[in-house]
């Protein structure tokens, strides 16, 4: 609390990349994430979105929570916490995981980085220290360190990202497979690169100690200048992830420990994350409840919808009849997809009505007049956007 600024406590924290990002945030479009000031967009959300799909763009993931978990019990602890088999994870690999309460309700999702035999990094969107303390109780050879403020992360996404990293001098980066990790010397320290992201496209996440953050930014932007590098914010992320069919806390699911109303939270089965639940594993949290859920089938199922017309179905109810009298679910996220040219949505629908017709009741505004329409929805099995280039190794050169 500085004397010079009596409002210091009221202000949001700044990301290590803030000086560069603030200079580029021409619209002053800020929101916040975990107490940190965070760009909604910098120049134009759709432009930034097309940078992701077209060239390359950076997204500040410093406000994301990062925990280093090390010790001989680290693997056992994580393996019990998450539904996936962590013992199968190889060093320098990343895996996407979710974790549940005893009752099988989703606490959160995130990624686990295996950095050494007994050293892991867990990343997730919301603060999880209190939860981790519960998870680690009873394990003696284990330390959990909150490295959210000391490790800076920059997500770098788009088809030309590999090329830019090569140009930046990251040797053999093109050999890095999806969910792989490589380490490079960088300045006085080192740079960790993981081939991960939240856009469904080719992309990497770059990790350095906070004091090297600006040097990383500068090096990357120098190398990326000729490839149209551009920072993007929350708005473009949300578009890209929706097309890729990725779920977002606060949209598709409510964190179980922060849910007041009974069953306003979700299970992995409801969210289509069956593939993350590994019943071959005899022990993981929520197993017995999830076993029952698997037998019985989830009450709701998260589905992808292609909706007729071009009015985004945000917040719409879904019905099984065009007269909209028999409600069967609700839309969680919706938008017009600029790349697919389709009106897409993620939605929760009662599982027992999955095979039936789905109608969305969409409200939209036109010059202050509220209108509504009923639109036919088509179930999509595959993500709206999943180009082969996202997984190709080596990625296509430019």
């Amino acid at each position: 609390m500085t004397k010079s600024d009596p409002f210091a406590g009221e202000r949001l924290k700044h990301s290590p990349f803030h000086p560069r990002q603030a200079a580029l945030n021409l619209r002053n479009a800020w929101s916040s994430w975990n107490g940190t000031q965070f760009a909604d967009y910098y120049y134009d959300a759709e432009y930034e979105y097309f940078c992701i799909r077209n060239s390359c763009a950076t997204y500040d993931i410093c406000p994301m929570q990062k925990y280093e978990i090390s010790g001989t019990d680290a693997e056992a602890m994580l393996d019990r916490m998450v539904t996936r088999d962590v013992t199968k994870l190889k060093e320098n690999r990343v895996t996407y995981v979710c974790w549940c309460t005893d009752a099988g309700r989703m606490v959160d999702d995130g990624t686990i980085f295996k950095l050494g035999p007994d050293r892991f990094m867990l990343t997730c969107g919301s603060p999880s220290l209190a939860w981790l303390r519960k998870c680690t109780y009873g394990y003696k050879h284990l330390t959990v360190t909150d490295i959210s403020d000391t490790l800076a992360g920059l997500s770098f996404q788009g088809p030309t990202t590999c090329e830019v990293l090569k140009k930046m001098g990251l040797m053999d980066i093109e050999t890095l497979k999806p969910f792989g990790i490589m380490h490079f010397p960088f300045g006085s320290g080192s740079l960790m690169v993981s081939r991960t992201g939240f856009t469904g496209d080719l992309g990497y996440e770059l990790w350095v100690q906070t004091d090297l953050a600006l040097a990383l930014w500068d090096a990357l932007y120098d190398a990326g200048e000729d490839y149209g590098i551009q920072p993007y914010g929350e708005a473009a992320t949300n578009m890209a992830r929706l097309e890729a069919g990725f779920i977002m806390p606060g949209m598709e699911f409510n964190e179980a420990l922060k849910t007041v109303h009974f069953h306003h939270d979700q299970t992995p089965f409801e969210l289509g994350l069956d593939w993350l639940v590994d019943f071959k594993k005899a022990r993981f949290n929520g197993r017995s409840a999830l076993l029952i859920e698997r037998e019985r089938g989830p009450e709701y199922t998260l589905i992808k919808l292609d909706i007729e017309g071009n009015k985004p179905a945000e917040g719409s109810y879904l019905y099984r009849n065009k007269r909209c009298t028999k409600q069967i679910g609700y839309v969680t996220s919706a938008m017009w997809s600029p790349v697919v040219k389709a009106n897409i949505a993620l939605a929760m629908v009662k599982t027992k009505h999955l095979g039936e017709n789905i109608w969305a009741e969409i409200y939209y505004e036109k010059e202050l007049r509220q209108n509504s329409k009923v639109a036919k929805c088509t179930l999509q099995k595959k993500p709206f956007w999943a180009p082969p280039r996202a997984r190709a190794t080596p990625p296509q050169p430019f």
């Binding site: 019990r80 005893d102 109780y137 009873g138 005899a282 022990r283 949290n285 929520g286 017995s288």
Partner: protein, 513 residues
């Protein structure tokens, strides 16, 4: 084929009772005990050459049904006569309670006491049928579950409107308010509150938990009055051990269990045996733990095998002991001022504020300035506990923290011990000259020597939220656990501790279902 049908971990009285019932129904049963003798906190051991005693020094609610079922009388157990409870007064104006009689108080208090005892007995009778019953889950109800709840509701209604209302009111009252409503004598108030408070982290002004503890205590045969069996506490333990062996079960002492063997399969986890300290594995269909819930789950099962929420519900159980134990080897019978014979249970707690203030010291992790306690001379019932003409004094000293601020150093132990003896000497002035040896067991010591986490004699404190279908937690309150094949039979389950035998009996009943 497994080595045994059932393995019982821990040969405390609940473990023995459970083993006896299982063996009598034809199961092949093995009882494993870590220490060199059976009986747990009721085991009699030598604390000075020629002087023996047990941590538990009296019985107030051992079930007559269990004694009958297990033919304990043929194995040498004879229930004791109810003892008087004596509220010691420095000047010798003691208040003495026995059954429904009281002496040493005025006529108003006497009349109130009789009415109070009758009322409490009526309320206690409502609970009584449920002490030897499994209390069902809430919300997952079979017909018999609903029947149990309906029976409970009916019992309550049968009290009649006024009494039911009064029960619903006083149930959550602090002891002090209940006593102040009824009585004048400070000593009488202390005596009547004592059984609701002892062993807990509650003081006379603490609401919510005390009255139910009193009612539970009164479930016993003598309406909660303490008793010592004709042959001492030892005679109950040896009778139980004999009953176990007579039924064909095996007891192995000095055989600590390292952990419970848990195997995982598609359907989940199941307990399949125990691993001993030497690495040897003994297998069984069912594993029954009579160890306390924290030890059972956190140490023997291991958190790897438990869900995270469950682990934390076990971990946060209120289970730290709050009672220290003083054992004195005496050259003769102590002489308490104005007391004919110290053959009752003597309580030093002159008024409720003294109890309250002792608690105030302890709640910050300190030692009570003026300790309160209950004293029994076990040698008056069982002379063999000491050499001829010599005696043992056994005292439960209230409000002694398990985690003393600054730790349990030798100096801290001595300081407490001296304070307690000084306090006793105010009532029995010559006692210092009679002391041949003194031993003080703090809750920390009890935890270490008796393998009871926290050193709590009820394993899990008696509070409203740790009773019945919530004891020890709702997932493990029906003697089954989240791990199939693993059962609980300890004082940490309904109906709780205090040499009652209910948990061992009820667990056996569930296992044999």
């Amino acid at each position: 084929m497994t080595d045994y049908d059932a393995i019982v971990i821990g040969a405390g009285h609940n473990g023995l009772i459970c083993a006896a019932y299982l063996a009598r129904s034809g199961k092949r049963v093995l009882v494993l005990e870590a220490s060199d003798s059976v009986g747990g906190l009721a085991a009699t051991r030598e604390f000075h050459p020629g002087f023996r005693t047990s941590v538990a020094h009296a019985i107030s609610q051992f079930s007559a049904k269990i004694a009958r079922d297990l033919d304990l009388s043929t194995h040498g157990y004879t229930p004791g006569e109810a003892m008087a409870t004596v509220g010691l007064d420095e000047a010798g104006n003691h208040v003495i309670l026995k059954g429904s009689t009281v002496s040493g108080v005025g006529p108003d208090d006497t009349a109130e006491f009789i009415a109070f005892r009758r009322m409490m007995q009526r309320y206690s009778d409502v609970l009584k049928p449920f002490s030897l019953k499994t209390i069902p889950h809430i919300g997952k109800n079979s017909f018999s579950d609903i029947a149990t709840f309906a029976q409970m509701g009916l019992k309550l209604r049968l009290l009649g409107k006024e009494d039911m209302q009064e029960l619903l009111r006083i149930m959550a009252l602090p002891a002090r308010d209940l006593m102040d409503e009824k009585f004048d004598s400070g000593l009488l108030k202390s005596l009547l509150s004592w059984d609701g408070l002892i062993g807990s982290k509650q003081a006379p002004r603490s609401p919510n938990h005390t009255v139910l503890s009193m009612l539970y205590r009164m479930i016993g045969d003598h309406g909660g009055d303490p008793a010592i069996p004709a042959g001492g506490i030892d005679s109950l333990i040896s009778a139980l051990a004999e009953a176990v062996m007579a039924a064909g079960a095996e007891i192995r002492t000095s055989t600590p269990v390292e952990r419970i063997k848990i195997d995982g399969g598609e359907k989940g986890l199941s307990a399949t045996g125990v691993v001993l300290a030497d690495g040897k594995i003994i297998t069984a269909e069912k594993i029954i733990s009579a160890a306390d819930p924290k030890r059972t789950f956190l140490d023997l099962v291991g958190v790897d095998n438990l869900e995270i929420g469950f682990t934390n519900r076990i971990q946060r159980l209120h289970s730290d002991g709050y009672v220290a134990k003083l054992h004195l080897a005496l050259s003769g019978l102590p002489d308490f001022t104005g007391l004919e014979s110290p053959d009752g249970r003597m309580i030093i707690a002159p008024e409720l504020d003294v109890i309250e203030f002792a608690y105030d010291d302890a709640k910050y992790g300190g030692l009570p300035e003026h300790p309160v306690m209950e004293i029994v001379i076990p040698t008056l019932k069982n002379a063999s506990l000491a050499p001829d003409g010599q005696h043992v004094l056994s005292a439960h000293v209230m409000y002694v923290p398990h985690d003393l601020k600054g730790g349990w150093t030798a100096a801290a132990r001595d300081q407490l011990c001296e304070r307690v003896i000084d306090t006793i000497a105010r009532y029995a002035p010559g006692i210092r000259q009679q002391i041949l040896h003194q031993e003080l067991l703090t809750p920390y010591d009890i935890a270490q020597s008796y393998n009871v986490t926290g050193g709590h004699w009820h394993h899990v404190e008696f509070t409203l939220f740790q009773m019945m279908m919530m004891r020890p937690t709702y997932e493990a309150a029906q003697y089954t656990t989240p791990i199939s094949g693993l059962y609980l039979a300890s004082a940490g389950c309904h109906p709780g501790g205090g040499l009652m035998g209910g948990p061992g009996h009820n667990a056996a009943h569930e296992i044999l279902k």
